[in-house]
Each structure stands twice: as C-alpha cells, then as structure tokens.
C-alpha cells in the first residue's frame, strides 16, 4: 500500500514538473493551444472556465492566463468583469417584477447582472425563511434582496432562494431600501469575502468599532446600511477608496484609520427614515 502511494506521489510530482515546464504565465488567446495533455499521466481532468479539450490539447476560449491546481484542474484566469452564476453563490439582486398566477406558484424575477436587467433569476415567492401563504415578504419592483443561487441549468432560468437547510441563521432576505448599493469589481468582492485579505480585515476592523450592516454579493454588488445619512455616505466612500486601493495593504489600513477617525468625530447625524414593511400579513 505505501509503495503504491509513493508511486502515485511520484507520478504526480512528475506531472507537476511537466506542467511547470510548459509556459505557465503566458497569456493566451482564443484558439491557442494552452496545454498539451500527452505530457501528463492523469486522464481525469477538471476544466474550469475558458478552456476546452480537443483531441489531446487544451484550447483557450478566452483571453487570460492559464492556472493549474494539482492534480488536474485547469482554468483560465481572466480580467473581465462579468458575473456568471454558480450554485451556492450569495448575491444581491434587484426585484424586476412578479410573475405567475396562483399565489403559491408566483415568483419574483430578480436581476443580478453586472449591468442592469440583463441577467435574471427566479425567486419563488415563498422561498423565504418562515414565509407562509398568509405571512410573507411583499417585494416591489426595485427592492433589493440578498439571496443564494440554488441551481443553474443550461436551458432553464437561474433558481434563487432565501432559505437553507444547512444553517439556522437567517442571512438572506429583503434588504432595506434606504441602504446604499455599491457596485464593485468582481475581484474586489471576492477579496472582501476571502479571510486574511486586506479588505476582509478592513471590514472586520470597522465592524468591531462601528456598527453597520452589509451584504456582499458575489455578483459585484455591496449593500451598506448604517441607518444614518452621514455615516452611510462615509461608509460608501470607504468601500470606494478601498476598491481604488486595489489590494494595497498599507493604503487600506490608512483608509480604515481615517474612516474610524471621521466617524468618531462626526457631529449630529440624521437618521434615514425607513417605514417600509417587507413582511406583511394578508387576510385571505
């Protein structure tokens, strides 16, 4: 048994070496052969976006840099900024309209595209935690909702949900209208959600000293809410500056410090009125 394992390890090492030998950091171009498969021994491949297999070659379908994760995962890292929904992504969407006949079969069309109303998914009207036929959120056109991608299919709509069987916590649901919506680059959003990154620690540091609500959607939309006018604007500017910093740790620390100072010295702040009742009870 150990021998077999060692052999496999050796094989994998050989593979890794072979992959290193091939130009790794080379930028590729649609139609380029990015990788030749006859140099590696594994036959099972995991192909991510941007590559396709033809005969014994991997061919690029977009512009980017080939990335490799052992043992046999290949994908093309691209700089483009369009969101592709994947199962399990948490997103911030905008309700576009409501469709369907019977109450139980109704659903909201929710737009989650990078640009407005180009990519939509369906969110069933009762797919909220604790929603019943009589007591449920009543969302209008333009309302924001934080939801999770449940399923994506090739030829069907993207299915969204605000419930989960795995967690008891209730993150998902309608977001307050008076919050601020910040549109960021997808790379920035991903960094915000990665533990250990400068952006993530920024959010944690600010959150420890200054109460605010936020919903970070993987589709490049960040919803921010403090309940007060001035501080919400400052928070928005903080995120904007942090995105412009482009991952610069020192700069982000500086911005965070400045933000905390500004909020500490903030004079009287005006509360933002929000009387919208999202959850309503209907009498038959």
């Amino acid at each position: 048994m150990p021998l077999l394992k060692r052999e496999m390890d050796m094989k994998q090492e050989e593979d890794t070496a072979a992959i290193r030998e091939q130009p790794g950091q080379k930028t590729s171009f649609p139609g380029d052969v990015v990788f030749s498969l006859d140099t590696i021994s594994t036959r099972t491949l995991f192909l991510g976006p941007g590559v396709r297999k033809e005969a014994d070659n991997l061919i690029a379908t977009r512009c980017g840099v080939l990335r490799y994760r052992p043992p046999a995962t290949f994908f093309l890292d691209t700089s483009d900024d369009s969101y592709l929904p994947a199962t399990g992504d948490d997103i911030v969407g905008v309700v576009v309209r409501r469709r369907g006949q019977e109450v139980l079969e109704q659903y909201y069309m929710v737009d989650f595209g990078k640009n407005t109303s180009r990519q939509t998914g369906v969110l069933p009207i009762l797919a909220f935690k604790g929603a019943t036929k009589r007591y449920r959120p009543n969302l209008k056109k333009g309302d924001l909702v934080y939801c999770r991608v449940r399923k994506t299919t090739v030829d069907g709509p993207v299915r969204l949900t605000c419930t989960s069987n795995n967690t008891k916590e209730q993150f998902w649901g309608p977001l307050r209208r008076t919050g601020a919506l910040y549109r960021a680059k997808l790379s920035f959003v991903r960094r915000c959600l990665t533990e250990g990154s400068a952006e993530h620690s920024m959010i944690m540091e600010v959150g420890a000293k200054f109460p605010f609500e936020s919903a970070v959607g993987l589709n490049g939309r960040i919803w921010l809410y403090t309940g007060f006018e001035k501080s919400q604007n400052l928070l928005y500017l903080l995120f904007r500056d942090a995105e412009e910093a482009n991952g610069d740790v020192m700069l982000i620390k500086k911005i965070t410090g400045r933000f905390l100072q500004e909020t500490a010295t903030l004079g009287d702040d005006f509360p933002v009125e929000d009387n919208t009742q999202y959850w309503v009870t209907r009498v038959a």
């Binding site: 930028t27 590729s28 171009f29 649609p30 379908t61 512009c63 840099v65 483009d80 990519q119 090739v154």
Partner: protein, 248 residues
C-alpha cells in the same frame, strides 16, 4: 488617375498591392457595454459593442412549447453606417438592405465560432457602428466584432478576421480603400478563421469573370493572415497588461 501608378507601382494611398492598412484598436471604450472596441483600419473607423449574454426570453412563457428542435440563436448582430461617416451626409429612410445583409453575414460568422448549444436561451447582441467609412466596411466589421466579443469575455473557439480584395488590370489588390471601392471594380470580401484558413463567408460585389476568383480569393485570404498577425499582437499586449493588473 490610375489606381496603381505605372511608374512607382504604388496605390493612391501609397501602399503596395499586397499591403493592408494600419490597424489600431482601443478596448473598453463604451463603459455601458459588456465589451467594446474602437477599431481603425486606415481611415475606416468602427465602434463595435457587445451586450450580454442575457436571457433571450424564449423560456419566459410556460406554454409547454418545445423549443428544443430550434437552433439556438446565440447572437444578434447589427451593422450601422452612420449618416456622418461618408463624404456626403446622407440619412437613409427605412432599412438599408446592404446593412441587413452585412449583419446576416456577421451572424453566420460568429455562430460558427461561438458555442450556441452550450448556452441555449441566452443571447449576445453585437452592434457595429461605422464612424468613418473608407472602404472595406464588412471586412473591418467582422474583425472588430470578434475583438469586441473577446473583450466581453464571451467564449469563442477561434477568431474571425475579414479582408477585402479587388483587382486592377489583372493585379489583385488587398484591403480595398474607398477610392478603389468607388471604381466598380470586381471586389470580394471574406471572413476567415486564419489559423486553418477556413473561409466562413464570402461576399462579392460587381460582376467579374470566374477566372479572377482564384487570385482574388488568394489575395483576400493572405490579407486576412496579415490582419490576424497584427491584431494578435495587439490583443496579446492588451491581455498582458490586464494580466499584470490581475496578479497584483
């Protein structure tokens, strides 16, 4: 005036017979679009914008119709010749048959290189606006459209490059400019996948003898190869810059 000088053998704009015009392009010009490119070939200037992919709306009404047998659309193209693009300002009433034909050519081309069956019921809208017209519109639009698709990050198998060719006194000329275009000479435009020299569309203009077809095609395909070499370099430089920003 001769189109090709008998003395120097040069064309009116100073090119040789087998030379294409200078190509420049600028990516990401239209901020609202998902992908855009301002493509210049000599004095022909085209703005190509890509919107999408988004839901084509085929599945919107659940009336139980099976749309499976239909071929997915994948792409919708539009070709527009701006009123201010030519020497005389002209505003056309109604639809322009030539523009529609060009749009159709573009659709056929891009459907070959895209993956329509992988994302059925989603659609990409591509629009090519000619800002300056100086000949070879279809050829330039084909090239610009591909670049815009790449900029939008839409998966494509390969590139499509267009080039036009004409013939003057038995000599084939590559990449037609408007001065040559006006002479009602035999003219041909091809859309080619340059890597395997596969011709996807071919458009002919004005009558010509069939013996001229072979040299014309040859010149046009060679022109495509030249164009490809130029745009390949441009795109690679562009991606390298973007990749630098990616790693940081």
């Amino acid at each position: 005036m001769d189109l090709v000088s008998s003395f120097t053998g040069l064309r009116l704009d100073g090119r040789r017979e087998n030379e294409i015009r200078d190509i420049r392009c600028q990516f990401g010009v239209a901020k609202e679009a998902d992908g855009s490119v301002l493509f210049e070939q000599g004095n022909t200037k085209i703005l190509a914008t890509v919107y999408g992919p988004f839901d084509s709306g085929d599945n919107d009404d659940d009336d139980g119709d099976l749309a499976v047998l239909e071929d997915p659309t994948a792409i919708e193209c539009e070709f527009k010749l701006s009123a201010f693009s030519q020497q005389d300002r002209r505003t056309r009433q109604g639809e322009d048959p030539r523009s529609e034909e060009y749009a159709e050519y573009m659709e056929t081309c891009y459907r070959v290189i895209m993956f329509p069956h992988k994302n059925a019921s989603s659609i990409v809208r591509l629009s090519c606006q000619v800002l300056q017209a100086d000949g070879g519109h279809l050829a330039a639009a084909l090239t610009a459209g591909t670049l815009a698709l790449i900029d939008a990050g839409i998966p494509v198998k390969d590139l499509i490059v267009g080039c036009s060719a004409t013939v003057v006194e038995g000599k084939p000329l590559m990449d037609v400019s408007s001065q040559e275009d006006l002479q009602r000479l035999p003219q041909i435009t091809v859309g080619v996948i340059p890597r395997n020299q596969e011709i996807i569309v071919m458009d002919t203009k004005n009558r010509f003898h069939k013996d001229l077809l072979a040299p014309l095609l040859d010149a046009a395909v060679k022109g495509c190869t030249q164009t490809f070499q130029v745009i390949e370099k441009i795109v690679r430089d562009h991606v390298r810059k973007a990749a630098g920003a990616m790693s940081s």
